[in-house]
Symmetry: C2
Subunit: 570 residues, 2 copies
């Protein structure tokens, strides 16, 4: 190809495509420049005055390098990679560093391979970070375990880009031998390791970094950012659905701004659809007063440099023709998006096939249960005082409240209380494990809710006020192969939505999925779930044993602060 590039660059032949009369961003000098951008194959071959076989007028547009999302879990969109791309590519994102942590917890390495292969169907570069901490804790039953030897076996594979966020920072700091094996394997294969070290500082941060970890997306204070950057880390500014740290941009200086990257981490399809992706982060950063050129540099060149993506993230000869032509650097409305030199989206609409074409057996039918009956949800207490989980505002941190409860026939009586039964039903290995607990203050009445998304092991999490509805919910989730369910004991009706891919994501298109999802959520709220909570997604974090305080695993009630199991009897 070099010959074609060179001949077109010197105007001996026409370029394949020319963006005419553009204002374009020179990320290297931090300047806007004027000219045509000539493209041959997947490369930019020159800027200046060019003629092309195809020409697109960009005289009223500003052309930027395609955006790079430095850290994202596709699964949080509940969409397949194809569906995810259908929402983000038209927004101008052309590369993502994806950590398929969720699907890997369910399906193991096959989950990574699935994301990698599906991504080939869409004009989006998906760089796969091998999840480093599967499962998140050793206390629960997950679909897969990636031990040190598994990381050693897989990290060198071509489709694996690096090692995903190393959440187990105590393991690093305490020199856990299997943890070190994972890190050493990544270094041996020359691959980058993403970090995740909320609030870590001083000597503990030094120790963590001695694992050879390059990035962090958990910073919340200026002091933390300054320290992490000064110790060589790239810091991601996050624009997720729940966790948003755009205000971190105020700590950018003339000297350190090249060490900031943008990412979304976890972002729901509804936000992607209605607000946007990295484009929305840029818009908000500029609104906050961040220099628009620097904001874009964070989302392009900085990320490319951090992740060693050579010849990407800039507009220059031989650089990858990943480009987005926007209205202006205030609203960042994407008029045209080009991936590897091809026009792939226009006016916010994808110009590519967005249907889910790759759907291997390995990620389907992942809800493995024996038939479950009402009696499986009997909750027998020793006395009449029990620990109940409460959910703090925000939906992720929980509390523990001691409640007085009555029992009848060896089962707690919920009627007349604001307590609900919470159950985590193991769904990967047919262990028959069911963890049971009490949840206070959620508001729901008259049946059960259930979902197969329950971070990070993604067992079934159920909520309800009668055992038969709970059993019905579990069995429905098994039947449909994973997803969300609402059982109404009064009407006898059951409504569900299938998340066929690992019980986490849907192979359907983004629009119809969101519509049906909305319907179920509304139904749950109608049955009393307080508007403070996201009916299903608030449940999805009740199993996450790395966030305080009281959580429920398939193996029992878990006290995160003591980092061990605890008895329900108070």
């Amino acid at each position: 190809m070099l010959k074609q590039y060179i001949k077109a660059a010197k105007r001996e032949v026409k370029a394949d495509l020319v963006l005419k009369n553009a204002t374009y961003l020179d990320v290297f000098c931090g300047k806007l420049r004027k000219g045509d951008i000539a493209i041959v194959g997947e490369k930019i071959v020159g800027t200046g005055e060019y003629a092309g076989v195809e020409e697109i007028d960009c005289s009223s547009l500003t052309v930027l390098p395609g955006y790079i999302d430095g850290h994202v879990h596709i699964e949080s969109s509940q969409l397949s990679p194809e569906g995810f791309a259908s929402l983000i590519v038209p927004r101008g994102t052309t590369t993502i560093i994806a950590d398929p942590h969720e699907i890997t917890n369910v399906c193991g390495i096959a989950g990574c391979a699935y994301i990698a292969k599906s991504s080939k169907n869409v004009p989006l570069d998906v760089k796969i970070q091998l999840p480093s901490c599967v499962p998140a804790t050793p206390f629960e039953t997950s679909g897969a375990i990636l031990a040190g030897k598994d990381i050693e076996e897989n990290i060198g594979k071509d489709y694996i880009f690096g090692l995903g966020e190393f959440m187990n920072y105590p393991g690093v700091v305490n020199c856990d031998s299997d943890v070190l094996k994972k890190l050493e394997a990544a270094h041996s294969s020359g691959k980058i390791i993403d970090g995740h070290a909320p609030s870590l500082s001083g000597y503990e941060l030094n120790a963590y970094l001695c694992g050879g970890i390059s990035t962090d997306h958990e910073c919340v204070t200026g002091e933390e950012i300054e320290e992490k950057i000064s110790k060589g880390m790239y810091v991601h500014i996050r624009h997720g659905s729940s966790t948003r740290n755009l205000e971190n941009a105020k700590f950018m200086t003339d000297e350190n701004y090249r060490r900031f990257i943008l990412c979304t981490d976890d972002r729901h399809a509804a936000d992607l659809k209605q607000k946007g992706h990295i484009d929305d982060a840029l818009k908000n950063l500029v609104k906050m007063g961040v220099d628009p050129i620097r904001a874009v540099i964070c989302a392009t060149l900085n990320a490319a440099e951090c992740y060693n993506l050579k010849f990407r993230g800039g507009i220059a000869p031989f650089w990858l023709a990943d480009l987005v032509a926007v209205s202006d650097m205030k609203n960042f409305e994407a008029k045209y998006v080009f991936k590897s030199g091809k026009l792939v989206a226009k006016d916010g609409k994808p110009l590519f096939d967005t249907t889910t074409r790759h759907l291997p057996e390995s990620v389907l039918n992942t809800v493995k249960l024996k038939e479950i009956g009402a009696k499986d949800f009997t909750l027998t207490l020793k006395g009449n005082r029990a620990k109940a989980i409460t959910i703090e505002p925000g939906g992720i941190v929980t509390g523990c409240e001691i409640v007085e409860v009555e029992s009848r026939d060896g089962d707690v009586v919920l009627k007349g209380t604001d307590l609900l039964k919470l159950a985590v039903v193991e769904r990967h290995k047919m262990t028959g494990n069911i963890g049971k607990a009490l949840l206070k203050g959620y508001g729901f009445k008259g049946g059960a809710l259930g979902i197969t998304i329950a971070h990070d092991s993604h067992n079934i999490i159920l909520l309800g006020d009668d055992n038969a509805s709970l059993a019905k919910a579990a069995n429905t989730l098994k039947e449909i192969g994973g997803g969300m369910v609402v059982v109404n004991s009064k009407s006898g009706e059951t409504h569900s939505l299938t998340l066929d891919i690992g019980g986490l994501m849907s192979s359907r298109d983004a629009e119809s999925l969101q519509r049906d999802s909305r319907t179920l959520i509304d139904l749950a709220h109608k049955m009393g779930v307080k508007r403070d909570y996201e009916a299903f997604m608030s449940l999805a974090f009740l199993s996450l044993a790395v966030i305080p305080k009281l959580k429920l695993l398939d193996t029992g009630l878990f006290d995160v602060e003591k980092f061990g199991f605890t008895d329900i009897d108070a």
Copy 2:
């Protein structure tokens, strides 16, 4: 090793070495900070307060990352890699990107292998760029030819870091198929390609860059720098012996300064010894008014990023412990130099073995000649008007002057003129080629001078006013295996100095070599060489057929502007 790093980082065990109470440069935030720097093995493990098995007080010093020379030909020092390291490591340079273009012209790939292996003897990281343009032109006889297939065969080797400066820019722009083969080979192996494109701009520069070329060290104007940086190149600021472009630093801005790198390209041992290396560049940059912190960032982090040297060029946990403790950021006097965590120089003196230990047959005895006689230097003209070479001030660019000359017995008469005979004697392939020409205005009288350094093919270049002395000089150079020679026809004395390594470099120590070299140079000046010229090194560029205007090759007189041979008769 990770375990040892981590344990020391969190102060569970002592570090191997601690630089106590240092002021150190945080290149990421562009700030000076205070603290101890803890080192284990080859890595920095932390900054803060540390205790070490060994501790060095740095309370009055500023600790910087070790300097990186982004582009250098070791051969220009006339020293072996060991000798070269003896001069630059004590100055604070710990990594060089070395292009062994000269020795490769003489010895082929064996020259690269020699530099790579010798470098292992010294505490200096020498990253070998495979010379891309051997020979520099197809018109002359060199010791080796590296064709596209040779680059394909060697570029992937572990000890080869990238592809050296691509000087043949017309070949790139004109899509020469062998040139493209070299570039494609470098891309296939994922290796970086250095550039060399003096004055190239606009569409020709676009075309050149479409070869996938990353750097340039030939910029001389602000406009050129701005264009090259805006098109994605890193620009080297050069501080060689002859070519010095430190003034280019005035084109650094807040936005583009991360795209500048420092290099020396060609720097003589005398300059290295007396003035310094990258430290001298820094000193001069600061004297010019460049922010010292930014100057150091150019010499460290920027170079590391350009050349993809991860975890190098900064002071942070897990980063390579290549450090230099300097007096201040004005004089940059290196008190201590640490390479990979070991103290390797103190007070400007190396603490390592600087003797040349690796001296393979493949780089020795490279002067291959049949016995040469006086009559071989007969220069027969058709008439009495001839083209003579003149040397412009600066010593590299030459001119052409038409001179009137007498002939006797079929040979030009030099007596009573300011003309000298210039001869280039092929010394690699025993072709018997001798190129002959006239040189005007050099001033030398009464014998001959000769040297086996003659860019870039390094045949023997001779200068003299009688044929017997010229023959004597050639035969002496053969005898000693390459080097420099002065023949005095009046005294009958011959003085010489051996450059045993490829006829380019000496296996002797820097000091004694320089002393003897100085003696020969003084001798040449005593015999009349004008002080405008560097007696021998000015000769060494008279064969360089890529620099205007009239040059002499072993194959004949060459007009660089017409890029072809020319007749001596005017």
